[in-house]
Symmetry: C2
Subunit: 339 residues, 2 copies
């Protein structure tokens, strides 16, 4: 399957196909340039090695330490040093093989090395395949704030091989599906119903493809996140606060799943969503300190003013609405819906 992200000169293809990693040299041009393959030690080595084996002009591999701490200016510097030490030029390419951390970090380094070299993203986790690998948002965390330093930088191609999900631990696998449920809720009824009625794993290619299509449509209309793209933050405002308050106990997708619930306005749809979570193994409630969550909300550095935030609400399946909400309103929702 192929989707084309239409962004003028920055347009690129998203290839979604079993075994695609083994055909990367054909899908992307690896014949007349060198490649730095960036991965981390949480990703089975076989994937990066398979890519490296296809670099006929030679290349190099950089294995980072797995985990969010790597997504820092120090990690950024590590990649830049490797590019410089190995003598990579403007005509060469950076290939990310891994999850969101690897993709965000390698993408940012590719954006800045020599003011931009080609970047190929090969996401290997559900979360990155369904969400972070497309959209062109690269970043590192800085000063305790997630994704506060980075660039909008589009990849040359995104190659998604669902076979890589076979080596992913079950909880990680399910974690990423939360973003696909989100895509269904805000923009694809059929996708949501697929979660309700079918075996997701059996239909994983269709799930990924439909979720990517929802994101693609939003990103094409708002490449640089000027407004509309906020729709993709559905569940994320409260989700990020839960993630911070949980101190790492909950995964990103699990927090987004929890963060979506208070923003679903239709009671029946709310129940249907909880049923989908139960079926998948996503949490429908979590015990944490609601005061702590709301404190994080108030300290969100992206807060557009000191009075409140823009939130995304889903009035009915397949639609959304951007809305301003005061902190008090959001806190009430958090307490009622999640406490």
């Amino acid at each position: 399957m192929k989707l084309t992200m239409r962004l003028g000169r920055a347009s690129y293809d998203i290839i979604l196909s079993r075994g695609a990693l083994g055909r990367l040299g054909k899908l992307a041009n690896l014949t007349n340039r060198r490649a730095l393959v960036v991965t981390d030690d949480g990703v089975p080595a076989q994937y990066a090695d398979a890519v490296l084996a296809q670099c006929v002009q030679g290349g190099a591999k950089l294995v980072l330490k797995a985990g969010e701490e790597t997504k820092s200016l120090a990690g950024f510097e590590t990649i830049l040093h490797k590019l410089l030490d190995e003598g990579f030029t403007r005509r060469d390419v950076v290939v990310a093989v891994g999850g969101g951390v690897v993709g965000d970090l390698a993408g940012f380094a590719a954006a800045c090395y020599m003011r931009g070299v080609a970047f190929i993203n090969c996401p290997t986790t559900t979360l990155s395949q369904v969400d972070s690998s497309i959209g062109g948002k690269t970043a590192v965390d800085f000063g305790g704030v997630k994704n506060i330093v980075g660039a909008f930088y589009q990849p040359e191609i995104v190659v998604i091989d669902p076979d890589t999900l076979d080596t992913l631990p079950q909880r990680h696998y399910v974690n990423g599906l939360a973003e696909a449920v989100k895509a269904g809720l805000i923009g694809d009824e059929y996708l949501f119903e697929l979660f309700e009625e079918d075996d997701v794993h059996e239909h994983i290619e269709e799930v990924l493809c439909r979720a990517l299509a929802v994101k693609k449509n939003v990103v094409e209309k708002d490449e640089r996140e000027k407004g509309l793209r906020a729709a993709l933050n559905f569940g994320h405002t409260i989700g990020h606060a839960i993630e911070a308050a949980s101190g790492g106990a909950l995964y990103h997708g699990e927090c987004v799943a929890l963060g979506m619930l208070p923003m679903i306005e239709d009671k029946l749809l709310l129940q249907r969503t909880k049923d989908v979570y139960k079926k998948l193994g996503l949490p429908t409630a979590a015990s944490y300190d609601a005061a702590k969550v709301t404190a994080y909300l108030r300290h969100d550095k992206k807060a557009s003013s000191q009075k409140g935030l823009t939130v995304v609400r889903v009035p009915e399946l397949g639609s959304y609405r951007l809305d301003k909400a005061t902190f008090e309103e959001i806190e009430t929702l958090v307490r009622a819906g999640l406490g």
Copy 2:
């Protein structure tokens, strides 16, 4: 005088006017957003303070240490910390007040903070007014290589106040004029003749404006330096090597001036150029180790291949030609023309 850099959605105005810094609040929008004013301790404090006084929503000032060493990832981090600590948002703006180091560094921080906030450039040196403030190239030095990490990021507006040149030491003042002589040589006969026949200081606004116009025309056709923009590197290939070999004894513009000489093919034009240098106070020869210069050339990290480089030659006044040259050919030119 106003020039408009036409780059689609990234278009911006270049305002060139005596006293413009004192009118920045009117020229740019400083009424409904905060500003971080970045400067360095080599720039008279009055300029940054004049800008800060016009920030009616408040702002902050960051004074960096003057010098090329500041143009590093550490300097980049210093600006990012300040932006974060002061709670700057996506709707705020970074204003650079100073020379090329301040502009390149503040521009890169603006490009990356929250994946891009508005950037206003107020160059205060001849070199930055004539050259580095426009074109959207932001960068830091890294691993011993100049400008190797950065972004193409266009400012919202460039405000050039030639009055700031009054406080510039004479050698710095002349240093920047070398880039204007370059502009004349590759693209504006009239500008070159103005250097020959008139008092440059008296006509400084016209000199700046014509030099900017040459650069603007090239950048508009090649925003991301895919090819044509290489013309602006006239004198820079050898110039950078001389700069490195001189160990800081010579200024950038002086090295570019020296680097242009071997690439002027017309004998008469070469003599005219040397006469202009003498009139301005730019060097026409320098004693240094030619072997050292050529060694730096061979280690240029931007070398497109191991065999040679793309060089810019000027066959006659107001024109240029991109050419491939082997290292041996360049070395012969360096020895003959400069030794």
